[in-house]
Each structure stands twice: as structure tokens, then as C-alpha cells.
């Protein structure tokens, strides 16, 4: 029997077997798919205060840390009122607002769409900030879960909890002026930065921060996902002497922002992990 045909048959058999093996999907770790829940804008703020020393701690930051960043100090009248309370809680969830003082329910207000519309018209009538963008206001408040707790205590407050599904809309006007949700914040880009961004044809950015994980899109194009580790950030903090302090509240939070430059349309979508 001729050896060559046997050899070719063997070769074809091997290629066939390998072909079958290769079309199989390689073994991969399959991530557990997280339960899909409605995106919510969750903000939980814990504040502890001591009327004796007239100091307060907010969101896990000590009185000293707050003083360093220029947090306001309360007047004596405010301290007198706070001295009468042991605790107070404001909860906005679903369609109602609950207020508790000293663990007793004080009042409940409706927080459905018609109630919010009354609030928008009141704000438009009495506060000179320009007309409220109802669509944006509803994007923020429709699925809000807000809890603000005041406690008379000398201990450090609980870390801030922020999980915002709605993108914060930022806009840079053609003159470089920066607005947040349509409100000018008194900051602007330098003409050089603006010229650089314009020349590079950067129209919009979308940034999502999710407990240390950063997703960034430029003009809708996704860039590599970066992860910052809280422990590891200490290395950078020490190396550059940044004195970043306790970053636990930031690393426990998730939020995102969309930045539109010039005439570009606002960035849409959400930051859902």
C-alpha cells in the first residue's frame, strides 16, 4: 500500500478533529448576571452632632476634615434647636416623604408626580433661578431614594452612600463657561484647553464611577475600563503627598456625568453597573 495516501488521510483526520475542537467555545468563567433592578438615585447621608462642642460629622467625614474643606458652621440658634432633638430623619422614597423626630413619625407628605409639579411651580414662582427643566428634574426625582439622618452623638457619622443612576449633565459653552444641569457654576475652561478640545474634535464625554471602576466614553467611543483600588491609592497618596484622607465614602459610591462641549447634544444613558 502506498504510504502517501495514508499520510494524507491521517493529516485530514487530525485537521478534522482539531477543527471540531476549535469550533467549541473555550472554557470561560461565566460571571453571575446581576439581578436587573430599576435604576435609582440613592443618597443616604448620616450626620452626627455634638451641641456641647458645636461640631458635626457628615457622611463619614470628621468635623476637622469638614472644616478643612470649608464646610459651613452653624449659628447658635441652630445649635439650640439641635440640642432639643436626639435624632431626626427625612426619608424620600417611592411616592412619599416621611419625617421622623426622636424615632416618632412627625409627618408624611405625598411625593408623587402631581405633588412634585406643585413644587416645581412654587420654585419657579419664588426662586429666581430660571425655569426648572421638568424633564431633568423628573429624571432625578422620579426614582429617588433619599435619606438624611441627624443624630446627637459624639461618634463619627456613617459613610456617605451615593448611588446615582441618572447622569449629571454638564455643558461647556463656546466661551468655555461650565454649567451643571443648566446652572452656571462660575467655572470655565481656559481658551487653550477649549482650543485643544475643539481641534481634537472632542464633542462629548461620558464618565461613570462605580466604587472604584471608571468607564469613560469619548464621542461615544469606549475607552479601556480603569479600576482604582482604595488600598493601592494610598501608595499614590504617600508618593505625591496628596493628603487625600479617608476615601471610603467615595469608594462606596457610584455616579456618572455626561459632558457636552459646544453645540453637541447632551449625553444620554445611565450609569448602571
Amino acid at each position: 500500500m502506498n504510504k502517501t495516501p495514508t499520510f494524507i488521510k491521517l493529516l485530514l483526520a487530525i485537521i478534522l478533529v482539531l477543527g471540531v475542537v476549535m469550533v467549541q467555545r473555550p472554557p470561560m468563567a461565566t460571571a453571575e448576571i446581576a439581578k436587573q433592578t430599576d435604576p435609582t438615585n440613592l443618597v443616604h447621608i448620616d450626620i452626627t452632632y455634638d451641641p456641647g462642642t458645636k461640631t458635626y460629622s457628615l457622611g463619614g467625614f470628621s468635623a476637622e476634615e469638614l472644616r478643612q474643606v470649608g464646610a459651613p458652621q452653624f449659628q447658635d440658634q441652630v445649635w439650640q434647636i439641635l440640642g432639643l432633638l436626639d435624632s431626626a430623619t427625612l426619608k424620600i422614597e417611592n411616592d412619599k416623604i416621611d419625617v421622623y423626630t426622636d424615632d416618632q413619625q412627625l409627618l408624611t407628605l405625598a411625593w408623587d408626580k402631581p405633588s412634585r409639579e406643585i413644587l416645581y411651580s412654587l420654585v419657579n414662582a419664588y426662586i429666581q433661578l430660571g425655569e426648572i427643566d421638568i424633564e431633568r428634574a423628573e429624571a432625578w426625582l422620579d426614582k429617588a431614594d433619599i435619606e438624611i439622618t441627624l443624630r446627637k452623638s459624639k461618634e463619627l457619622s456613617e459613610p456617605l452612600q451615593i448611588e446615582l443612576a441618572t447622569l449629571l449633565q454638564l455643558k461647556v459653552a463656546k466661551n468655555g463657561e461650565l454649567t451643571v444641569e443648566g446652572i452656571p457654576i462660575g467655572m470655565s475652561l481656559t481658551p487653550e484647553t477649549l482650543a485643544l478640545v475643539d481641534a481634537a474634535n472632542v464633542e462629548n464625554l461620558k464618565l461613570c464611577w462605580n466604587k472604584g471602576v471608571i468607564d469613560l466614553q469619548v464621542n461615544g467611543q469606549e475607552l479601556p475600563q480603569a479600576t482604582l483600588y482604595q488600598g493601592g491609592l494610598g501608595v499614590i497618596d504617600k508618593a505625591f503627598g496628596l493628603n487625600l484622607g479617608d476615601l471610603t465614602p467615595i469608594f462606596d459610591s457610584s455616579f456618572g456625568a455626561g459632558l457636552a462641549i459646544g453645540d453637541a447634544d447632551p449625553v444620554t444613558g445611565e450609569c448602571v453597573p
Partner: protein
């Protein structure tokens, strides 16, 4: 069959067989030896490397889509990429570089080579999808 063709075919079959085994195993990352790199006092990297007392920093490139910086077994920062996000980064970097030259008006605007860009993308895609390596650089701070 001439000897040359037979040797070529056998080599091809061996390569195919080895890759088949590699593929069937899930294309594991092949670790390459770590490259040591020493930094001296006064160099910009020195203060970063010595900041946590470990006096070393490790940069790991995993061609399956991960770049990680670790210091004393503690992850500092990591980047996850795909050929697409890598291409987007190159695109943005290139545009910013050209924009910087235009704005500063000093020097000629660099012309990009489509061939070089395609070659880079092909290499990234090849080492991401076909054969995966892990390359580490261990930066050690000298006293």
C-alpha cells in the same frame, strides 16, 4: 512526496496540534520571565516605588486584556482593554497629539501611517485572541 513538503506538513500538523491543545485548554495566559528594572534615588519613579516601604512596583501586561500595577501584592490600578477600546484610545491619543501641535503652532503636524496603525491593531488583536502572554516588569528602588 518530496522530503521538503513532508517535513513542512509534519511541522504544520505539530503546530496545529499544539495550538489545538492550547485552544482546548481555554487559551491560558503564558507567563514570560519578569524583567527587572532598577531605579536610583533622584529618579522620578523612585519616590513612587518607595512610598509604601516595599521598595518595588510591578507592572504586568496581560495580552488577554489587562494591565495592572501592584505594589507589595496590593493592586494600585488596573486597566481592562479589548482591541476595540485600545484602538479608540490610540485614535483619541493621536487626535489630541495633532490638536496640541495645531494649538501650540510649534512644529509640523505629525502624519499618521495607516499601515503602522493597522499593524498595531493586528498585533493587539492577535495577542488578545490567538496567543496570550503575560509580561511583567519589576521596578526595584535602590537605596
Amino acid at each position: 512526496m518530496p522530503r521538503f513538503w513532508r517535513v513542512l506538513l509534519i511541522s504544520f500538523v505539530i503546530v496545529l496540534l499544539l495550538y489545538g491543545i492550547y485552544f482546548a485548554l481555554g487559551r491560558p495566559v503564558i507567563p514570560l520571565p519578569t524583567i527587572p528594572y532598577k531605579v536610583y534615588p533622584g529618579q522620578p519613579l523612585h519616590s513612587i516605588v518607595t512610598s509604601n516601604g516595599a521598595d518595588q512596583l510591578k507592572l504586568t501586561l496581560n495580552t488577554s486584556g489587562m494591565v495592572e500595577v501592584t505594589s507589595s501584592d496590593q493592586s494600585v490600578v488596573s486597566l481592562k482593554f479589548t482591541p476595540d477600546t485600545f484602538d479608540n484610545t490610540l485614535d483619541l491619543g493621536q487626535r489630541l497629539l495633532i490638536a496640541q501641535k495645531i494649538v501650540q503652532g510649534n512644529g509640523e503636524v505629525p502624519e499618521s501611517s495607516p499601515f503602522l496603525r493597522k499593524l498595531t491593531n493586528w498585533a493587539i488583536s492577535y495577542y488578545y485572541n490567538v496567543i496570550r502572554f503575560r509580561l511583567s516588569v519589576l521596578v526595584k528602588a535602590l537605596p
